[in-house]
Amino acid sequence: MSDRKKGTAKILLIDDENAFHNQLRFAYESDYNFESARNFKLALHLLSKHDFDLILLDLDLGDGFENGLDRIPLIRENNPDIPIVVITNDHSRDSIVKAVNNGANDFIYKKEYEKEEWKKKFEKHLKTRRLEQQNAALKEENKQLNQKLQKLEAVPFLGESPKIQEIKKSLVFLAKESEKITILITGETGVGKEVAARYFHSHSLRKNRPFQEINLAPIQESLLESTLFGHTKGGFTGAIDNRQGYFQQANGGILFLDEIGEISIDLQIKLLRFLENKKIRAVGSEEDIILDVQIVAATNRNLEEEVKIGNFRSDFYQRLKVFPVEIPPLRERKEDIPLILEHYLALSSRNLKAAFSKTAYGKILDYDWPGNVRELINSINYMRIRKGINQCDKIDESCLPIEILDFKPETPNLEEVIIETLSFDETTALTELSQIEQALSKGFNRKGIAADLLNMSADNLRYRVLKHYGQFPYLLDRFPRIRKAYKLVINQS
């Protein structure tokens, strides 16, 4: 078998006439790579071993045209995309139609051999094949890019803190476990409830089906029902045509109902009906529609409290909280802040600290983030712009939003401690240990980060801790982070 000439198409010629193989090679060997099969068994073997760009198939391999026609689907079975041009001397329209119906792409008459005409025909199909291959490659590339994009999407579910890891694991498990389970995501505003819902969708059995989201809070009460369930023409004043609602648009997929705590009791009843028997009814219609929609709901309200005060139906709440997921506020998982900064500033972890002044970085970590991740993202955009305007090398205090700049974290009240009768050395040790404790707090209990924040080496920090521990071990009783970080035991005796 000849090696494939680079860039030339590979053609499989299936014909029982030896002479024809020689004739085609003579005519076209500078244009194409030919492989020959004089019987069908050999042809199938070659097809299983090699990639071909075109197949020329003689309909009569010495056993009649009908057998030839039957061979086309056998080739097609494992080679759906390779164009097949049948070669025949049978001019009957019927044979050609049958051949094409069986999967052939084209035909040529042997006795009407004209080198250039045949070449044009080959090229037509080879070009189509090339385009289809390019198209397939582009689609695959697109798919991979989309997958990458999903990972790098505008609002990815970032977080490596233990709490977020736990939530992600749970969401992935639930996503793969069942298409029917209802999820309720709770948490403060801006923690990433929508992000978590999309994360769930991206891992779910419904990931290739629609994800529809709707924020229920801003929609007027009177329009909410038709927005969700659709309406028929004339269903209410102003309904000039039939309109599908979000439920129908999400059919087969997932519907994310954000701010579920804001809806009326009446709508809760209708949603409960859907959760119970999968039916909705468009406004103005007299017929129920059965739909296949998985519900993910979210709220920043405490629904248990809402139930107690009568704003939320207990039965609906029970239905929703089949599997509740609470996303903690950002202040409770500050170890995720560097990750979020890296992502939105497109920085590696190595370059992250170099992108900020120490003070600015410290302030970002100190800040309480009442607006959670959303506030952090907005602040990152603000800082990036300010850096540009101020023409700074790094993000420094001048780039910080005022609320971050002015924020003062709570610190242990040293004055209360110093009221006790302590020697000067004890007081000095206490002060230093207090600073180290704070640094550990800011640095997520990491000694290296704490050392950086204190402007000393990790070895030096260790030395100072152990020195104070050695001299005044009882003082360490007030500093749990230091004890944990350096594995220090206080003798109670």
Partner: protein
């Protein structure tokens, strides 16, 4: 008096028919049909079986009926009457053993070329000239005549492409690669043509036969040569000649393919 053309080479029957039409049934004048000229005829009497050069006898009327039907030059009113020694029951058939007194009444009852008649020759498949001619085209070795010609066609065209530059090889390479097997195929074709010549004599192919012979005379020197030159190839215009041979044979083949109602 009407003309009655006839096809027969039965030297026993012809005199008897001539006597009959001159003495008994004087409405018609018997005239041998010009097998070379294939002139227009109103009434044609075919006497079967027809003896060919090989000494065998064949039923020949189906090929004539096919020919007349497919050629517009012959009016639909032409009547084809078959005469023989079998006991066929057909409006267009006369049993020679009981020749009718009035041929006019035979003509009156006979159907036209496209009419509803058809002598049942199923028992005589090997004795039909059409079967012989089919064999000529189909061949015994699973390779039909047209397949052989197609092979020759492609080879000759490839050789021609070396001269036109469409194939980037020399003429000599073309001859080396394509010629030996072409020579063999040509020889087989020639032999087959020669063997089947007797069967063409009684068929309406005189024009095509003459054309074929002229074409064969033209191209044979090329295939008989051991190393034909490119000048010879171009002078003979092998591509065109082969193409014309193909057309000529196709014309004949048109009449030979069995049609409904013929046999």
């Amino acid at each position: 008096m009407k003309m009655l053309d006839y096809i027969s080479n039965n030297q026993d029957i012809i005199p008897k028919l001539e006597y009959h039409f001159s003495e008994n049934d004087t409405d018609f004048e018997l005239r041998p049909y010009d097998l070379k000229g294939i002139p227009e005829t109103e009434n044609l009497l075919i006497i079967e079986p027809f003896k060919v050069q090989t000494g065998d006898y064949y039923f020949i009327h189906p090929i004539w009926r096919s020919f007349f039907k497919q050629n517009q030059q012959f009016p639909n009113t032409t009547k084809l009457i078959v005469a023989g020694f079998e006991d066929f029951d057909d409006p267009n058939y006369i049993n020679l053993r009981s020749f009718p007194a009035s041929f006019a009444s035979v003509l009156e009852n006979a159907q036209s070329l496209n009419g509803d008649w058809g002598i049942d020759l199923n028992k005589y498949e090997d004795q039909q000239i059409i079967s012989r001619l089919n064999q000529f085209f189909k061949g015994h070795d699973m390779v039909s005549l047209f397949q052989k010609l197609t092979y020759l066609d492609i080879s000759i065209k490839n050789i021609n492409y070396t001269l036109t530059g469409e194939i980037d090889k020399s003429y000599e390479e073309g001859i080396e690669f394509m010629f030996p097997l072409s020579k063999q195929h040509w020889r087989e074709f020639e032999i087959r043509w020669a063997i089947y010549q007797p069967y063409f004599e009684c068929c309406p192919f005189s024009e095509e036969k003459a054309e074929m012979e002229a074409l064969l005379d033209q191209i044979t020197p090329f295939f008989e040569s051991d190393q034909p030159s490119s000048e010879m190839f171009l002078k003979i215009n092998c591509v065109k000649v082969l193409d014309e041979i193909h057309h000529c044979l196709e014309k004949m083949h048109r009449y030979v393919r069995p049609e409904k109602g013929d046999c």
